[in-house]
């Protein structure tokens, strides 16, 4: 609970340090990535399953909402909900048979699924605008369009706090304990009477829905979307954020997303060495903090005491 309050305080106080719309933009992107990572962390950190296709769900949310709103004239809130539901439904349909298998089958299946979604988005240019992308109408409710970085900041900030709250509650619930038991030992968990497939499916569908929602929000916020956000590369970026921040740590996912979204912006001072410095920071963190940023720092703090 203390962590949640701290996060809420950070969201509330951050605007004091945000001098212009560009700063707000970075804060919003951090928030949107953090939302996806908190969801993905439920799957990777707690259910012990790796998804290499989360950008696909992000893409379904983004393009689903964009197409329904731009091409079929749906009100953006309805298209947002429909696109989120579509991402969840697809995860459920795909996850049901696959999650009965053991090992890394989910990783392989999501890898394939993500690539298929990315190819469909790139080739179906009548609907998606193809590789050059498409425009997306702004988010509006009863005639009032949500525009401006400040308004979006508060929306994304509130959603981030809500997602973290949801995640923390879930982890502390019987479902969360079952998930953690699964991560520890699937056999032992099943012996204890936990339906492993059902719980893994729940985590998978939930994380896909959250990715879809964040995707749809990103599309409406940016006003323009390209297939780049649905590619395999973006899937990897999301997994890296979770691992970097610390698996099985909700706040780790938030910190990972924040650092990896903001760092490239700070590193532009290195010009052509930007990528080298970025890679160096990643490697050093993984070598000296193998469990991720937040769990390592938490452990150090405990040891001090």
């Amino acid at each position: 609970m203390r962590g949640l309050l701290a996060l809420a305080a950070v969201v509330l106080l951050a605007p004091l340090a945000l001098a212009n719309n560009y700063h707000y933009e970075i804060a919003i992107l951090v928030g949107l990535n953090a939302i996806v990572c908190v969801g993905l962390n439920l799957l990777i950190g707690y259910a012990g399953q790796v998804s290499l296709g989360h950008a696909g769900f992000f893409g379904i949310g983004a393009y689903g909402s964009a197409i329904l709103a731009a091409r079929y004239g749906w009100p953006p809130l309805a298209s947002l909900a429909a696109a989120t539901a579509a991402a969840a439904l697809l995860a459920w349909v795909v996850g049901r048979p696959i999650l009965r298998l053991r090992g890394h089958y989910l990783a392989m299946a999501t890898l394939g699924l993500g690539i298929i979604i990315s190819i469909v988005i790139t080739t179906e240019d009548r609907y998606t605008g193809g590789p050059d992308g498409m425009s997306v109408p702004p988010l509006a409710l009863a005639g009032f369009a949500l525009s401006g970085e400040r308004a979006w900041y508060w929306l994304v900030g509130a959603l981030l706090v809500a997602t973290v709250w949801l995640s923390l509650n879930l982890i502390d619930s019987p479902v969360g304990r079952a998930l953690r038991a699964l991560h520890g030992s699937e056999v032992a968990a099943e012996v204890a009477g936990i339906d492993s497939a059902r719980h893994k499916l729940l985590a998978f569908v939930l994380s896909a829905a959250i990715a879809g929602l964040a995707g749809a929000l990103t599309a409406h916020y940016a006003g323009f979307i390209t297939p780049g956000k649905a590619t395999f590369l973006h899937s990897i970026e999301l997994v890296v954020m979770v691992v970097f921040g610390g698996m099985a740590s909700t706040f780790g996912a938030v910190v990972g997303a924040a650092v990896l979204t903001a760092l490239p912006q700070l590193l532009t001072v290195f010009k052509e060495y930007e990528m080298v410095v970025f890679g160096g920071v990643m490697m050093l963190t993984m070598i000296f903090m193998p469990t991720g940023l937040v769990p390592t720092l938490a452990m150090l703090a405990r040891r001090r005491r």
């Binding site: 719309n21 992107l29 590789p131 780049g228």
Partner: protein, 378 residues
Amino acid sequence: MNLRTWFAAALLAATAAVQAQAPIRIGSFLSVTGPAAFLGDPEQKTLELYVERINAAGGVLGRKLELIAYDSGGDAEKARTFAKRLIEQDRVDVIVGGSTTGETMAVVPLVEAAGMPFISLAGAVVIVEPVKKWVFKTPHTDRMACDKIFVDMKARGFSKAALISGSGGFDKSMRAQCLGVAKNHGIAIDADETYGAGDTDMTAQLTKIRNAPGVQAVLNAGFGQGPAIVTKNYKQLGIAQPLYQSHGVASKQFIQLAGDAAEGVRLPAAALLVAETLPDSDPQKKVVVDYKRAYEARFKQDVSTFGGHAYDGLMLAVEAMKKAGSADKARVRDALEQIRGYMGTAGVVNMSAQDHMGLDLTAFRMLEVRKGDWALVQ
């Protein structure tokens, strides 16, 4: 007047003087790394080179130019974030950049809202059609390439053509444009084949085209490796009809990749490719030869049309500032719109309120590969 007011007045005068001397800030975001690096890399080099040269010659309106460039890696979202950074944080006076259509279109809503003159270096027609108040662009469009090719086909007495295209953004956009304008030129497209991005053999598609009755010429709308493979397969299958390529492969690399098979292939391209072989009477010769020599002397690599687009973008911005007599955004925008008869590497630019690109078909030259080099088709 006491000492304090004196001091304040002096300070005020000093700040005013500094303000007058403050550099004009040119913002840019380019795909210097990533899949579109072949666009962004020469563009960035060109901007750096010419900002340096302009400053060495005394700058613009007595002020130096300052280039602030970011690498978007071809990612539209990054491009948008950097554009926001240029507008909000760096407070640039004009933006010259956007290597790809996706990056450009992602930034359009921002510059329109901020009132920032923006000269894009990307190809597609959608950037300037419909006209957007603050958005201009320097490269030719794919529709112009289609027009140029169909005009040449018609001149050779062809009326039935086949189309083969890749699945990238450039390929798809050009295919759509060509299908759209073919009728205007009285050309019927009798076969329309596509290939995937990573395909290494296009014989199947070309065999279909060969078997289509009455096809007199074949047009390949493509980018990168694909067109070189198409050209090779075309020769292997012994297809006799003339083959046209697009401006997307207008670089020496294409001839190297396709080898002998490239002989006789025609394509529309900017004059830059044949800079030195242009007749001296050509009004564009001086511009393209100067740019080519400056670029090649500095970077020891072949000049490309993409770098030329950045040259045109920067020069148009400078020209507009000189015309406007200031770097004020609204006045620069108005001046940009009024530029007529400016000679760039892409051709003569005649901007207007209806046309924010300002190029016509004379900007393209029809080239043919002869003995492993480009030759002008008269």
